[in-house]
């Protein structure tokens, strides 16, 4: 089952490169997404048994994140089909500076999209730290061309920064992996198995100094990919310059994969009996990320960058939750789910806004609710959800994290947590409401878009985020027991309750 999960999108990707006709390729994309989703769903029904001598297996956390990835990818795939159909061909002028630019060939885009999925699946499924590293680096490489879909210099710059920063960061993670091997080799000098389960089993015998060094490197390395401040620097550029559906995947899926890698490291560290070190570091990084996100969300002039910084904030919440442990870890796991889906909604809606208004400047967008009768309300709802307002899912998870913090008697952390949340809320709320409410700008939403205000939106582009939003809403008033169970199990891996 697991090899199939990984192979299906990979093969589809190869096919996508070779196929000639666009329509077929789009069908293939959606088909692959559906197939992948179906297989993932079947994993819920019956957990697949480990393969390749335990190198590949799905534990609770892996399955959880795999499901998220698959779901989000399905949404993006459907959206992508519509998106690609409506992208203009050939060279066209860039709305910002009026330069001419063209898109990357669609074959490359689709292919990389599928490879991307394959590598992410590998991240979720790999139990071997070396393999994990390979997979994470793989996601970086597969996604770089996606960011550079619109071939103009801003996206190029974003891609370049993404490549260099992430590669350097993940290089450190590799070093960390090797150090872990050293720690594992330990005194008897036997062959150091890098399979997580073995490491955890031999937790006590791991050489403490090397273990700590290893965790440090892994944290910094995967933290860079995960977007923990101040290692997040690539994130806003990449998210704002890539096509919206790619941003959705980056923010909703890739960051989670990196988070999963961090979780694995923390698991091993705890097995080595030094969990507190990791907890404190994670809490520090978490708070730093939340605070820094506040700095840049407040008064942000580019709404896609705003979403990107909000992702930084939420990665901070995840790290904080795991750092707090107990109910906090549970909240973090649940929050990973909520955040991915909500960010999916927001980025896809942002894509619709961009398509209609032809600008990423907040100042250029007015009267959204009137211009886009479905996406406009979704934009507001998504903002409320992502800032943790009931009745949406994130509220529950964020509150659980707060509860965990106070349960541990960490009132200072709790206070900072609330303050940062409030700051981000003010920042995002002001921006989003300014865009959504009020009358339309003179002469329709944007002269460039030849569509009268209030006209029905294209079906797919509106329905995909709407569907995700419905799930988010559902998670706010009802958490399916199965999900709750797996969340608890996943949290249990890092000492959550």
């Amino acid at each position: 089952m697991i090899p199939a999960l990984i192979a299906l999108p990979a093969l589809a990707g190869v096919a996508a490169f070779t196929l000639k006709r666009d329509a077929v390729r789009r069908a293939l994309l959606i088909g692959a997404a559906i197939g992948h989703g179906a297989m993932t769903a079947s994993c819920w029904w019956r957990r697949p048994e480990p393969v390749a001598s335990g190198w590949l297996a799905l534990d609770a956390a892996g399955l959880l994140f795999l499901t998220l990835t698959s779901l989000l990818f399905l949404a993006s795939a459907v959206y992508a089909a519509h998106y690609l159909r409506h992208e203009e061909r050939g060279r066209r002028t860039d709305f910002k500076e009026g330069l001419l630019f063209s898109n990357a060939p669609e074959a490359v885009f689709t292919g990389c999209l599928l490879f991307f999925l394959s590598t992410m699946t590998l991240v979720c499924a790999s139990r071997h730290l070396g393999l994990l590293w390979v997979a994470v680096e793989g996601t970086t490489l597969a996604s770089a061309p996606l960011i550079y879909f619109h071939r103009h210099h801003r996206s190029l710059e974003a891609t370049w920064k993404y490549l260099v920063i992430c590669s350097v960061g993940i290089g450190l993670a590799l070093l960390g992996t090797l150090c872990l091997a050293v720690a594992g080799a330990g005194s008897e000098g036997g062959p150091a198995s890098m399979v997580i389960d073995d490491l955890i089993a031999r937790g006590g015998t791991l050489q403490p100094d090397w273990l700590r060094l290893a965790f440090l490197l892994l944290l910094v390395g995967y933290g860079t990919k995960m977007g923990l401040a101040p290692l997040h620097t690539w994130l806003p550029d990449a998210h704002s310059e890539s096509p919206s559906l790619v941003s959705a995947l980056l923010s909703g899926a890739v960051l989670n994969c990196a988070f999963l890698a961090v979780l694995r490291s923390q698991q091993v560290l705890e097995a080595g009996g030094q969990g507190d070190l990791g907890r404190n570091l994670l809490m520090t990084f978490g708070l730093a990320s939340m605070g820094l996100a506040g700095v840049f969300v407040l008064g942000q002039t580019d709404y896609k960058r705003m979403l990107a910084y909000s992702s930084v904030e939420h990665m901070g919440i995840l790290a904080l939750g795991v750092g707090i442990g107990g109910a906090g870890a549970r909240g973090a796991m649940l929050h990973a789910v909520n955040h991915s889906l909500t960010k999916g909604v927001l980025f896809l809606v942002a894509g619709n806004i961009l398509h209609l208004y032809r600008t990423k400047e907040v100042a250029g967008v007015r009267g959204l609710v009137r211009a886009l009768p479905i996406s406009g309300p979704l934009w507001i709802a998504g903002m409320l959800a992502v800032t943790g307002s009931p009745p949406f899912g994130p509220f529950l998870s964020e509150f659980t994290v707060l509860y965990g913090a106070l349960e541990q008697g960490r009132s200072v952390v709790a206070a900072l947590y609330l303050v940062f949340l409030a700051i981000v809320f003010v920042g995002m709320g002001q921006t989003v409401l300014r865009m959504s409410q009020g009358p339309l700008p003179e002469g329709g939403p944007a002269p460039a878009a030849g569509r009268p205000a209030g006209a029905a939106e294209p079906w797919t582009s509106a329905m995909v985020p709407a569907a995700l939003a419905l799930i988010v809403l559902m998670l706010g008033v009802y958490v399916p027991p199965a999900l709750d169970a797996i969340v608890l199990e996943a949290a249990g891996l890092v000492g959550g309750r």
Binding site: V134, L141, Y148, W160, L163, V182, A185, M194, F296
Partner: protein, 218 residues
Amino acid sequence: MTGWLDTLLVLIVLTNLKLLGTSRLGGCIRVVAAQGVLLGGLPLLAGGGLLAPRALLLAAAGVGLKGIVFPWLLLRALREAKVQREVQPYLGFTASMLIGAGVLGIGLWAGSRLPLPTAVRSSLLVPVALATMLTGLLVVVSRSKAITQVLGYLVFENGIYAFGVGIAPDAPVLVELGILLDVFVAVFVMGIMIFHINREFDDIDTERLSELRDWRPE
């Protein structure tokens, strides 16, 4: 055999310093190529046996990639992008070399604090690996051209590779190859990017690549 190993390591350190001191891009690439070849030898000396199939395989792959393919790619990119061949450092060459020496010091200090596993042949290995990595980072940070950043990344990668081969000699070969493959793809993609950067800016100076930001100095 430890003597050989140490010599190799010292040579690697020298390549680091040379890289920091070189002013012409072409030169830099050749230095990195040399370092790649040296690294290729590392598995043979550090690993289990001189002629263990695993060691041979790794050596071949390492020399092939780090010593031949990468330099070739980069030189080609350099030729495509008809840039002037100066490195244009933010940091003077002498200063860089001094820092390079200091970096070696850091490596020695860190290495001395960590208990070495028995498998390690030379106490010099960890310091050199660390120093190489930091040198690579130093290049990334202190040089302005995109291509030098790739070089820096390569050297950084070399350091890790050296560490891996030397410290964890019996890590499964599949992983090592996977790692090499990743690095290869990385460099390949970066090469493509450099090509595009050059096309967009008719120069690969990353000074131009600071359009995206949230802060404008008054």
